[in-house]
Symmetry: C2
Subunit: 513 residues, 2 copies
């Protein structure tokens, strides 16, 4: 048994049995080892950003770690943006990156690169195996670290000779260390803070769904405070039957307006709100200066303990929270727009759908319209690096083969990682991709205006507009083996979406707005 084989057996013994792969020429022994273990599901992505984004989506839906297989330094570079997004989402990901044989590293061969340096810029945990006998234990340590603190990015670097040399016996990863808990004194203070006038409980991470979300609703009702969620959440349960929440906003002024009466804020599973960007003359934080902010638990802590502790102190367990009622919009009249498209999506959203949203400028009306749709999970890009939607939808669909995945993306965003369409076709994933074709980076126009620039000249236009030539998303989908259709009216979109949801397997709808 060589080192690579000991690693694959360690992964399987530790419950890691999905590997999103884009192997290169330095990972051949690892490929051979995977090949001899058909119980490991290997899913090919034609670009590394597809692997890391898929592992992120997989973690969000299963709560457990998938592996990525990445080529040495430049391959990891291609995965970097979606590892950044996964890190911000608090997802656990196990990256296995090949490297040159240890004795070959002293030469400047073409692919020699700073494997540890590029990994450390985004991973919580990085280790380069030193010998084939270490690979099994290193792999187990990496998996344990990926599961620690509710999910971390870990990277195991596997020099070729540590893969082909003699390996040790496989190791099942130890359970991750126990989660940190807030102190009793902090819980007392937090319960007291929620009872004040102008108080809000801001929840994130694992508190955004299931029993914990229900508990948070009871706490807010018992304390008569607001229940809020961040602008972006890794996985938020919403729609019919869920606990109503208020969501923070993107525009700095609107967000400040939303929070202007806030005097006491308790954060559980998320940090205190920070504006996405700084703007000249505007503060970095949306909360008023006289708001008392209490950080009860960060996303890597024991949120069950924290919320149970709050509920105990506020005597909240028996509260009956009025859940969100189903309320669907009428079939919209008029031209296709983010608003009318949002209504159509809300009408068609099937029970238990997974909605992956990176529709950027088209997104807000859709989020509004689906608030009272059938119950669904909403996954959004957490790190602001666009190009996460299609990979994340891929991983979510692998994780939940019995649920419909609806991927909402801007055309600009989708172009970064369009190769994921091929993986959806290859794996017959049940994903309906909706591309909002506004033919440009509309968000940038908005940001330029927010910076006080009114006039858009030739160079700015050249960097904002994607209209010459027009991207043809139906052709791009077909090129990747995915059937597609373009819609320009509400009726066309209504029909196309009904068809896509009724069928199994991937499809794409280009919505021209």
């Amino acid at each position: 048994m060589n080192g690579a084989d000991s690693l694959v057996k360690t992964m399987l013994a530790s419950g890691v049995d999905v590997c999103f792969a884009n192997p290169g020429t330095s990972e051949m022994h690892f490929v051979a080892a995977l090949d001899s273990h058909p119980d490991m599901r290997c899913i090919l992505c034609l670009f590394e950003g597809g692997t890391s984004g898929a592992a992120d989506g997989y973690y969000r839906m299963t709560g457990d770690v998938a592996a990525t297989m990445l080529h040495l330094a430049p391959g990891f570079g291609n995965a970097f943006a979606n590892l950044h997004n996964a890190r911000k989402a608090g997802s656990g990901v196990l990256n296995v990156m090949g490297d040159h044989a240890t004795y070959h590293l002293k030469y400047d061969s073409p692919l020699k690169g700073e494997t540890e340096g590029v990994s450390q810029a985004v991973s919580h945990w990085t280790r380069s195996s030193l010998s084939s006998a270490d690979v099994a234990q290193d792999g187990a340590d990496a998996i344990r670290a990926a599961r620690a603190k509710n999910g971390q990015i870990t990277t195991l670097i596997l020099p070729a000779d540590t893969a082909w040399g003699d390996g040790a016996d496989p190791v099942a990863a130890a359970a991750p260390p126990p989660l940190n808990r807030p102190s009793e004194a902090l819980l007392d203070a937090a319960a007291e803070a929620l009872r004040r006038d102008g108080a809000a409980l801001l929840i994130g991470g694992a508190a955004l769904r299931g029993n914990l979300l229900a508990l948070a609703g009871k706490i807010a009702q018992a304390a008569r405070c607001r229940l809020m969620v961040p602008l972006f959440s890794p996985r938020l349960e919403r729609g019919q039957g869920t606990v109503p929440v208020e969501q923070l906003m993107y525009p700095v002024d609107a967000n400040a307006e939303l929070l202007k009466e806030l005097r006491s804020l308790v954060c559980c599973g998320t940090q205190a709100p920070v504006n996405f960007f700084a703007y000249p003359g505007k503060p970095s934080l949306p909360t008023p200066a006289n708001t008392h902010v209490l950080d009860l638990a960060d996303p890597g802590m024991d949120l069950d303990f924290a919320l149970t502790g709050l509920a105990d102190r506020l005597d909240a367990h028996a509260q009956q929270v009025h859940p969100v009622a189903l309320s669907l919009p009428d079939h919209p009249e008029g031209p296709l727009s983010p608003e009318t498209a949002g209504a159509i999506i809300a009408r068609h959203l099937p029970e238990n759908a997974i909605v992956v949203n990176e529709s950027v400028t088209s997104g807000a009306p859709i989020i509004g319209a689906t608030r009272t749709a059938k119950r669904h999970d909403l996954l959004v890009t957490m790190g602001g690096a666009i190009g996460q939607c299609l990979p994340c939808a891929t991983g979510a669909a692998v994780a939940c083969p019995d649920r419909k995945v609806i991927a909402l993306t801007g055309d600009g965003s989708a172009m970064y990682t369009l190769q994921s369409l091929w993986t959806m076709a290859r794996e017959r994933l049940d994903v309906t991709v909706i591309v909002f074709a506004n033919r440009g980076y509309q968000i940038l126009r908005g940001e330029l205006a927010a910076m006080g620039v009114e006039h858009v000249g030739r160079n700015a236009q050249a960097m904002f507009d994607v209209d010459d030539p027009l991207l043809d998303w139906v052709a791009l989908a077909r090129g990747h083996g995915v059937p597609g259709v373009r819609v320009t009216t509400c009726d066309q979109m209504d029909t196309a979406l009904a068809d896509a949801i009724a069928a199994a397997g991937p499809s794409l709808i280009e919505v021209v707005i």
Copy 2:
């Protein structure tokens, strides 16, 4: 004048007037500054790997620096692989990466990332501007560093408030420091080494074209030694009328065979040969253990001085080197294959073409067939990170609007950065893209076999084959606004290539082999 404006003026004052851009929301003042300077040519790429690969191609053809504009950490991550390739090519690139305002960096906002860490893993020079008054001088320093040592990767990080705050006067970049030169004693030793039996002169970098290539030919003839070039060269002048050279090979055993009589090797403009990868039981170096290797000048040194010094010592200046004569193959019979496709390409290659080759497993016969074609420049991927061809061809076409660019790529390679097709269409670049569709990562099959693995099972096959579904390159091209055609016979390819070369602007030929 704000900091961003002072930087744009500094770039223009320093002769940097092309910017391959993929801006994000944190670069808005830089966008506004570019907007007020229409003499800066801004070229939009829909993925950051397109910007860095284009800047590499631009440098190879102009010998001067283009800028990239990249979004903070994850955007730079997307550019990483082709920056790695550019670094290995010895290309000079100026990256301008946005960042959050300095006072916003203490918060963990979604896009906050390790800008300096990810840059340092691939850049020779990294600096984060500390104040808007520093930006002009920092930019000038970055440009000077990018031009130093015949080309380096430099990254200037521009926090948003240093872009919007008051800038200083623009600065023209100082000339780069003088290039290092080999000592007279080393030149004496190198000349002596070339006179020995079994000697070779191995040239690289700027010695691969023009006067320096001609001089190297004279030196080798005077010394009666072999004249060799590395397996990969950033820009090699070849075909009719050029100096004949021997090229190193990829397969370890074939390369060792090629070099088995070598006793004395002088390296000028390149390092001593190193195998691409290590393999179990095989050496890292292809040269025999008893070969005396003399490193005369690395690629960052004064190669003109080094070769002139050798020519002086060997009394080589008056040598008449017999150049490569034009010899074109007949129109091939039989099925379409790398061999027959290579013959067709050689027949049609126009005078002064720029050939960008990343056809990996299909490449060797093409390189052989074009050796005696009309004179052309050959650009190949230097860092082994596939996905460089289409961006590099884009940059080469921007650099040389009067020359035909032929981009040869495998289907696996092209998928990493297919978004560059859109930039070719937007900029009306005269690029003929030839995609060799072997429907898989054939190189990986070869590498697995080289590792001694004979049987390819389900998981390996899932990671090597891109045939379910088939990629439709004609649809992918059309999706990006580029006309395309699929060919399956020699006659079809002959016609398609003749048409593509006769027309101006981008086109794509999918060659099914």
